[in-house]
């Protein structure tokens, strides 16, 4: 989770990110941030997330759960 939080701080350009944070609440969240998340999931965690799947992800925790589920 800590690795994901670090990556999200970088993508969202904020000081801190918590698992319960909602992606859409961040000022910088847009379609390009979504693409950065997809690219990061692949390069950092080796998993493939489709843009469609990301649409139903609300919080950073759900994103983490999605990545974990794809790892197995």
């Amino acid at each position: 989770m800590n690795e994901l939080l670090t990556e999200m701080v970088d993508i969202l350009e904020v000081d801190a990110v918590k698992p319960e944070d909602k992606l859409r609440d961040f000022d910088s969240w847009d379609s390009l941030s979504a693409l950065s998340v997809i690219a990061m999931a692949e390069s950092r965690f080796g998993v493939n997330i489709a843009a469609q799947e990301l649409k139903s992800v609300e919080t950073v925790q759900s994103l983490y759960d999605l990545i974990q589920s794809k790892k197995s």
Binding site: L32, L35, S36, A39, A51
Partner: protein
């Protein structure tokens, strides 16, 4: 048994457009099929006319340092002369510019553009290819001339290829013709990310006057451009896109 007839070298022949081009040109030429996937290359060769006639060259274009030695040893072993070089290998990266470092950009440029530079350098050397090269063809993209969100590095790599194409056309004339084919969206594994997204698919249906393309559409243009019938065409971007880039319709 090595033959001395002139070959066509196609990079990226293990799938997609490269495979279609290889199969099309195998009807009339001896091919050197390059790709990253040996299984893919063997499948392409099996689909070519007279499979035993064609050669396979397996090398990852990300490895530029040993690309030269790999190509030269392949050519020497096969006693092959390369008459046409078609650079179809390419990769795409969907990434916003604010996440794109120069290292990431370099990776894409290596395969999409610099690998072609290295191969051409070698094919022009007398001791390697004995002045046999007559035709160079780049498979570029309509995105060479236009922008696309999160595709800056891809757009730049194709624009680099086409800038290089024009300079080559001028420098290598009159013996060698150099052109680029600019395809629109075609269903291949590289474009799969777009084809899996219903929103993108729906937009493509609206934006393409002639609908989406097939690999054969590009293969037929390639066959023409390497033929004697195209003898007075050089330095050109040939767009094969179902009318996409001329479409400014409101709906």
């Amino acid at each position: 048994m090595p033959s001395s007839d002139a070959c066509i070298l196609v990079t990226g022949a293990s799938s997609g457009l490269g495979r279609a081009i290889a199969i099309q040109l195998s009807q009339t030429h001896r091919m050197i099929l390059h790709g990253r996937s040996l299984n893919g290359l063997e499948a392409t060769r099996a689909a070519c006319l007279d499979p035993g006639r064609h050669l396979v060259w397996n090398h990852d274009l990300n490895s530029l340092d040993n690309l030269g030695t790999s190509l030269v040893s392949r050519l020497v072993a096969a006693e092959a002369r390369v008459e046409s070089f078609i650079h179809c290998a390419g990769t795409v990266k969907v990434l916003p510019v604010r996440s794109t470092t120069f290292q990431i950009a370099q990776g894409l440029l290596n395969v999409n553009y610099l690998a072609a530079v290295e191969i051409i350098n070698l094919l022009l050397k007398k001791r390697i290819n004995q002045d046999n090269l007559r035709n160079i063809l780049f498979i570029s993209s309509i995105w060479s001339n236009f922008g696309s969100k999160a595709h800056a590095t891809y757009c730049a790599s194709k624009a680099a290829l086409d800038g290089y194409m024009r300079a080559l056309a001028v420098e290598l004339a009159p013996n060698i013709r150099v052109n680029s084919i600019l395809p629109g969206a075609i269903l291949t594994s590289m474009a799969a990310i777009g084809f899996q997204d219903p929103e993108i698919l729906a937009k493509w249906e609206r934006d393409y006057p002639l609908g989406l393309g097939k690999p054969e559409d590009v293969a037929h243009m390639a066959a023409f451009l390497v033929s004697p019938e195209a003898r007075w065409i050089t330095g050109q971007q040939l767009t094969v896109d179902g009318g996409r880039t001329v479409n400014m319709s409101l709906r």
